[in-house]
Amino acid sequence: MPFLNWLKRRLVVIAGLLTLAYLLLPNIIVTVFSFNKPKGRFNYEWQRFSADAWKDPCGVADMCGSLSLSLQIAVWATVGATVLGTMISFALVRYRFRARGAVNSLIFLPMAMPEVVMAASLLTLFLNMGAQLGFWTILIAHIMFCLSFVVTAVKARVMSMDPRLEEAARDLYAGPVQTFLRVTLPIAAPGIAAGALLSFALSFDDFIITNFNAGSTVTFPMFVWGSAQRGTPVQINVIGTAMFLLAVLFVLFAMVLGNRRNKQKA
């Protein structure tokens, strides 16, 4: 049976590609249904082709406002978490200090905690302090849960870095600031970039923690959540499709750039 043999040799490939299809199927549906013209309030059933939503992506009340709010929060959360996280990673890799174990577990725990637990406990804190729920409480929460991921990403990079490069810089009479800016930071940059990118994605897409701590403020994920009850406008799919395409283009661009740089080096 040559067919069976062929199948046997490619079993892993076929199974892997099926999983990939499973992963991508929802994105395909989201894209296809961004061209739908639904009959009722919900965009779950295919009716007929129409590009109306693409012509008027902000045609739904409050949606683009929530999108821009989510982008703002994601940018500031990324900045905050990246700065704080990078500082922690440098301390962890480069210095010896007391209470290292406690620091490590305080960084690990938020990643090993179900989101709903962090969300609920943070809300108890805010309620007890009488804090006004809104932009700032969301930002505080996002910086908190992005921090650990930045530390993990940057730490891996700084750990694989040869400390003799910094020693060499010092031997060549570079001051501490100069050494940091011209040697350490450029080498750590890919790790920091990875951490920042992860923070942005996590913050932009966060729902559970935001749902608890947003009060009446509506971020984009919360808008989508609300629309699942009230009726899903086609524009949601337009935004989803556009984000997917932008992400793929961005990654492809970064890869082409990286390849070119590698070639230049060689």
């Binding site: 779950y44 305080l106 725990l109 090993a112 559970i208």
Partner: protein, 309 residues
């Protein structure tokens, strides 16, 4: 991933002892740690303390809450919501096993068989992350719709009869049943399984496979005796990264399930945001945290891997 390939030669980072003493270095680490640690203490650790205190309080929204060390809240909460706890653990466990079964071939494919397609497949695994997961979860409503092709096919093949008999589905529907929720959970957390699996598979020296082949091991034996044991760190961190968020999730149960598929996350969310019964909500969330930490610790001990992150 690039950090691994560009790592410095074997000499590696020198031991801390060999470092020249810094001129002003004694307090530097503490200054570097201070802001971030303060953030985590105030907004992660302190809230846990507040929550612990809330869970033993009694009172009402109007008259305020007082700490009365009312531990009975825990007992009452467990008594009232044990089915949801059990369901959360079962759904999360099912989703984790499915993620492992589905994710392993894809991670293996990317690591060993993809060739020049490797980067493209990698992008396709990560890119969906950038579309809001709520939008993607809603897409499952279309895929599993009652009159859609998937349900029709499952019906024709009498698969729904079998799953209905097992209690996973009800009647001719997939939506609003446990199967739909587990399917959504599996879908949402699959990348968290694939990425660590890929990282640990990629580190395996290809010559080990050749060596196994030279010693007359058949492909399956090679996998069982060489590849799988070496990928254990990825399996452990992948299962944890899937199980933990899946056990606390309430999005899939809410969007794809029904009142019969409510998980503990749904209960905590309702108690906190709608019923406003803070002590019960705090107690439930504390039990969930304790249960997960206990399970994770036990699991890590048993699997013998300490280097997770």
């Amino acid at each position: 991933m690039s950090t691994l390939t560009e790592a410095p030669p074997p000499l590696g980072p020198a031991a801390p002892e060999e470092k020249p003493p810094r001129r002003r270095g004694r307090f530097t680490p503490y200054w570097l740690l201070l802001p971030g640690m303060l953030w985590l203490i105030v907004f992660f650790a302190l809230p846990m303390v507040y929550q612990a205190s809330t869970s033993v309080q009694q009172g009402s929204l109007e008259q305020g809450y007082k700490v009365t060390w009312h531990f009975a809240t825990y007992w009452d909460a467990l008594n009232a919501y044990w089915p949801q706890f059990l369901r959360s653990v079962c759904y999360a466990a099912a989703a984790t096993v499915l993620c492992l079964l589905l994710g392993y071939p894809l991670a293996y494919l990317i690591a060993f068989r993809a060739g020049r397609w490797r980067n493209l497949i990698m992008i396709l695994v990560i890119a969906p992350f950038f579309t809001s997961f709520l939008i993607r979860t809603l897409a499952w409503k279309t895929i599993l719709a009652d009159n859609g092709p998937v349900v029709h096919a499952l019906n024709t093949l009498h698969v729904l009869d079998l799953t209905g008999w097992l209690g996973w589905t009800a009647g001719d529907r997939v939506l609003a049943t446990p199967l739909a929720v587990v399917c959504g959970l599996t879908y949402n957390f699959l990348p968290f399984m694939i990425l660590p699996l890929y990282t640990s598979l990629e580190r395996i020296d290809g010559r080990l496979h050749e060596a196994a082949g030279d010693l007359y091991a058949r492909p399956w034996t090679t996998f069982r005796k060489v590849t799988f044991p070496l990928s254990m760190p990825g399996v452990v961190s992948g299962t944890l990264l899937t199980f933990i968020p899946a056990a606390g999730d309430y999005v899939n149960a809410e969007l794809l399930g029904s009142t019969d598929t409510r998980m503990i996350g749904n209960v905590i969310q309702t108690q906190f945001l709608r019923v406003l019964d803070y002590p019960t909500a705090a107690a439930l969330s504390f039990i969930l945290m304790a249960a997960i930490l206990a399970m994770v610790t036990l699991y890590i001990r048993r699997s013998g891997t300490e280097d997770l992150v």
